[in-house]
């Protein structure tokens, strides 16, 4: 990757301290995002996707704390930035949209008031200019009759509309990086298609970089350039999008792909991953995936593998691809089997 890297996250670790117990929600997340590209962060619920996103903007709630790692945004480590510095970045250089469009807007202020606020804080725009720019933004995100809509309260808008408003608000100051945390999970597919198309278009138009957090491999395939697969608070595989789907190396990535019921082709039998996601309170010591992995060996149970190069394209956290692998030689040769 010779492009300019806008965001470089290195071994990020974020924990929640509850009753003298450390819940390691994010425990070693690394990825690089080239400027103008989209990276997908995928994983099942509880794998640490949202906490990763919140950590980048330092929006963690109380018992949560970044305990290690670096978040380099344009060469500036955000974990070390002052409160004031980070505030001037939020909503300005890095914006975020959330999963729940229904509850993410303040119910007691109009759409216009909420958009104007961002413009005022970062660009010092007054009421009239703010209103003008607000209407422009609503038009940009495809809201019909923006003049009227801007005076409405969130409850007067549908879910899809609210998500458009959230996007308008996020785009108000032309951010260089947009973090979208499951922006379409709560929406119907036809509305999801609208929103994803909108984000794609705006990205091209404005040259933004995007972090797309999702649990839907379909969304990843259609929107991302690079993918980081998370499991148990860790990135287990990182590659460009084609490689992730065509030549996945980590047993979890493969398991995930084999579990998806496809709407475009017939699959006789799904190949689910056995067991379920471990709770963060009793994470396995070795490889987090070992209790569910069909290839696990004693080594996997005891020692945690590093995220290492496997090929030019993949970074994988798995013992299979190391010299120390003493399990099934077949897997090492061909990788875990795709069934779909």
């Amino acid at each position: 990757m010779s492009e300019e890297i806008i965001l470089d996250v290195k071994d990020l670790r974020t924990s929640f301290f509850v009753d003298d117990f450390e819940v390691k929600a994010v425990d070693g997340v690394s990825f690089k995002l080239p400027k103008g590209k989209t990276i997908g962060i995928v994983g099942e619920s509880g794998s640490g996707k949202s906490i990763t996103a919140l950590s980048i903007l330092r929006l963690l709630e109380k018992p949560g704390k970044i305990v290690g790692g670096e978040i380099n945004f344009k060469g500036n480590d955000l974990t070390k930035a002052s409160e004031q510095e980070i505030r001037s970045i939020r909503g300005n250089e890095i914006s975020m949209i959330f999963q729940e469009p229904m509850t993410s807007l303040n119910p007691v202020y109009t759409v216009g008031q909420q958009i104007r606020e961002t413009l005022k804080v970062h660009q010092g725009l007054g009421k009239e200019q703010g209103m003008e720019k607000g209407v422009e933004l609503l038009k940009l995100v495809g809201i019909p009759s923006p003049q009227e809509r801007i005076k409405q309260y969130p409850h007067e808008l549908s879910g899809g509309m609210r998500q458009r408003v959230m996007i308008a608000m996020a785009l108000a100051c032309n951010p260089e990086l947009l973090i979208a945390d499951e922006p379409t999970t709560a929406l119907d597919v036809t509305i999801q298609a609208q929103i994803l198309e909108l984000i794609n278009e705006l990205q091209e138009e404005l040259g933004m970089s995007v972090i797309m957090i999702t649990h839907d491999m379909g969304v990843v395939a259609e929107t991302c350039d690079y993918v980081a697969v998370m499991y148990g608070g860790k990135v287990v595989e990182y590659a460009d999008v084609k490689t992730i789907f065509k030549d996945p190396k980590h047993p979890y990535t493969v398991g995930l792909l084999n579990s998806i019921p496809r709407h475009d082709i017939d699959v006789d039998e799904l190949e689910p991953i056995r067991g379920s996601v471990p709770s963060p309170k009793n994470m396995p010591n070795g490889c987090r995936f070992a209790p569910r992995c069909p290839f696990a060996t004693d080594l996997c149970m005891e020692e945690l593998p590093d995220l290492g190069d496997v090929s030019d394209e993949n970074l994988v956290r798995c013992w299979i691809y190391s010299e120390r692998w003493d399990g099934d030689p077949e897997v090492k040769e061909h990788g875990p089997k795709r069934t779909t």
Partner: protein, 337 residues
């Protein structure tokens, strides 16, 4: 398939009154389900799909008699459920069970798994008291849980395991029809796949019939024999799975299918992005309810309500309700965007 018709829903209507005004008069109606007709054969899985609020759950609730439908008939095994009184209906509940989306909310947190299952058996009195424990363990094993887990509480289980308990409870009374309302929607994909496989296995073993309500078309393709597509309280298309996914006829079905992101970055697809939102079911659009968003809508669509019909280019039993199927098929009518 010359099979036995297990369930027959005819012209089902469910209007919910909207109270308002000075004295709380009924000022309007939500037409949640408006003239829906379909049938289900014994041993098959029929799915109902559509966007949020299109009336999927309401249809399911009507069959269970959880609401009182405004009009129509629901024949189960040749008997009209809507003409039964409360007591008779309670007996019929043995044959029709339901599994909901939220496995946690539908299990009593203060009951152990055994108590949950025993209660279901007791209500319908299907297993004598001294055999219930044995049966409970058998049920757990059927759904892939351990015998030792029979005395645990719901909160000690993961989401997927709770859904298995829900399935075991439904199976406890040996039902004929199980209505699954978004039964796998809240689960992670890897676990969802386990539950889907389980449902398929159980269907084969016990000759179960499923009415499967879902919004995920991947899941629907995987589990169904036939699929019903609903839009704003109406059935817009109904077909066997293969025809529906490979040869959809209704413009809405086409848009819906094309909107789903495909987990394959190299798949080439033509996306139909519909404009606008689903209109309110309170005053739904006249004529064809889809005309406000349909890329093929003509003047006629605004006034005339289309009927479900089967044409030459469609397989047997495949029906769609659109005035212009022929013209769209022949290319005489082209998309407006």
């Amino acid at each position: 398939m010359a099979q036995k018709e297990l369930l027959k829903v005819n012209n089902l209507k469910q209007y919910f009154p909207i109270k308002g005004g000075f004295l709380g008069r009924t000022v309007n109606h939500v037409k949640a389900v408006d003239d829906v007709t379909f049938n289900i054969y014994e041993g098959e899985t029929v799915s109902v799909v559509g966007e949020s609020g299109c009336g999927k759950s309401t249809t399911g609730r009507a069959i269970l008699r959880l609401d009182d439908p405004t009009d129509g008939t629901i024949e189960f095994n040749g008997e009209d459920l809507l003409s039964l009184n409360k007591k008779e209906m309670r007996k019929r509940r043995k044959d029709i069970q339901v599994i909901f989306q939220d496995p946690y909310a539908s299990l009593n947190p203060r009951q152990t798994v055994f108590q949950i299952l025993a209660e279901a058996m007791e209500i319908q009195d299907v297993v004598p008291k001294d055999k219930r424990r044995e049966r409970a363990i058998e049920l757990l094993e059927t759904v892939g849980l351990n015998a030792e887990q029979v005395d645990r509480f719901p909160h000690e289980f993961s989401g997927g395991q709770r859904q298995r308990i829900g399935i075991a409870r439904a199976l406890a009374v040996e039902p004929k029809l199980i209505i699954c309302d978004e039964a796998v929607s809240a689960l992670d994909v890897s676990v969802q796949a386990q539950v889907l496989n389980l449902l398929k296995k159980l269907q084969r073993e016990f000759n179960l019939t499923f009415l499967f309500i879902a919004h995920d078309l991947g899941v629907v393709r995987h589990i169904s024999d036939r699929v019903i597509v609903m839009y704003l309280g109406k059935v817009v298309e109904i077909a066997d799975k293969k025809s529906l996914f490979d040869n959809p006829q209704h413009p809405y079905t086409k848009a819906l299918l094309s909107a789903i992101p495909t987990p394959d970055p190299e798949a080439k697809k033509e996306r139909i992005v519909l404009q606008g939102d689903v209109p309110s079911p309170i005053n739904p659009p006249t004529g064809c309810r889809f005309h406000t968003r349909c890329p093929f809508a003509t003047e006629m669509c605004k006034t005339d309500t289309p009927e479900l019909r089967n044409l030459d280019n469609m397989a047997e039993g495949h029906q769609a309700s659109c005035h212009h199927i022929e013209k769209i098929f022949s290319g005489d009518l082209v998309s407006k965007y």
